[in-house]
Amino acid sequence: MYLVGYDCITAAGSGYECLMQSLYSGVDNSAIVLPEQWKTTVVGGGKACLISEHKEAAHLERFRVYSESVWRKLFSNLSETAKKTLSYRKTLIILSSTKGFIEDYIWQSSEASIRSKENSFQKIISNFVNILKDDVTSVETLVISNACASSHVAIESAKNYLNFSDFDSVIILAADLIGPFIYSGFQALKVLSTTSNRPFASDRDGLQLGEALAVLVFQKQKPDGVSLNLTSIASDMEGGSVTKPSMDGTSLLRCLNRVVKNVSEFPDFSIGHGTGTIFNDLSEAKALSAMSEQFKTKLSVSGIKWSIGHTLGASGALDVIAASEVLKSEKLFALANSNMSDSKLVLDFVLANEKIRNLCHTRSAVVTSLGFGGIHAALRLEKQS
């Protein structure tokens, strides 16, 4: 299936151009969370990358404003063929999220209202369908919530639908906000960095949270000119532990082996999940190293969370956007906060001193994702002329 359009809003600003500008310029968009950051007081001190536009509005209103602006810009940049497909053929819309946009609902709800079969996600997705109504005609919707691997699982589902049903387009809306609920939870787990987010670095000390809304449009039909083909995707739950991935990366390696199966060319680079926690980065690097060994070469690895934070249910979609832009520009940005990689992680990390790595004849990338609940996923994106 082909990635025919994408855009996003993040702490770096509105539009994927702002995201890429931040990544290439080494801008860290994080700030320390203050106790009075939200209406509910929290234990401050952790790092987060928050969207500044409309930050005082209610979550549902923020969703409406962000999704409308992202969609309008994305749609105006789509090819006429892609627009026609959306206008005349069946489209599936998948919402990929954890709970960023339902925080307000949770704080205001009661056990009775929750048990009344009220689907808290339906308001969000209905809102988005309403925004699209003039551009997309025949629509069905799905809500997928697979922790921080939600985007990858949504993309895997999109591929199945485009391959095996009569849908011609899938729009993935991947979004999460940060509020006192999510922040306090990660703070309670003691995984938030209080310094700077340094994925894969020897001195990494935790993750930073981030807010984002991203939209990806996939279609069956190959677009004209240079195209981005999502050739393969796989997910796997290892089922061992609720929060910790296996230290040997077995489950992620199973995914990677499936996505590079029958591929003769080694991926030119990887946009890693790289949260900056001890366990995530160790497990992920072991899996990527094991895949590299099979090809007898070292994989170039970078990531984006040091700049815009871990955007949870949206993180995989943003990694796909970043990978797509790198495939087009053939320039890989660095992990700008990471000065020295962990000696236990045997990969070719693009570190701060390198700033930008020039890649030659870039053709394919792998994008990995890990989430609570032992969920792992990987996908391969290929540039085709």
Binding site: Y105, S109, E118, N119, V143, K190, M237, S251
Partner: protein, 154 residues
Amino acid sequence: MKLKYSTSVDIIKFRPEPAWKDRVERWYQLDENGYVICEAVYDWLRKDKMHKFDALLLVLPEASNLADLDFVSSTPASPAKFVYTLPNIAGVLVAQMTSFHGPIFCLCEDPDSQKITLFAQSLLLAGHKKVFVLESSLALNSTKERVVTGYFWG
């Protein structure tokens, strides 16, 4: 082929030590959703109704909202409660009960709908041999029990 099983669980009578306590990590910290799912899966295992499956489709229309409410009502913030504030966590419990590993898809959609059928069929067409669809809504039935339903497709 589609096989369907249902189990009703009385949520008021959480047993101090369930029969499946050794199969699940920290069973005593489970939220209600996790507990009833373990009860149902154990019931089907005991009655030899569990089939081998290679993809798991969790259908939880209210996501993890009850665990979410429990977490935001706790002071100070409880890490043990926070880990259940993701709907797909129920999948880990199914995996621990059945030794499953593989793809899991967690949908926040109405149970037994056309959408679920289409999704399960897309997984079978993608090459999966048997899909286990596990549906659990927070709504209680007329006898104040939670109903968990499992379908095996393929």
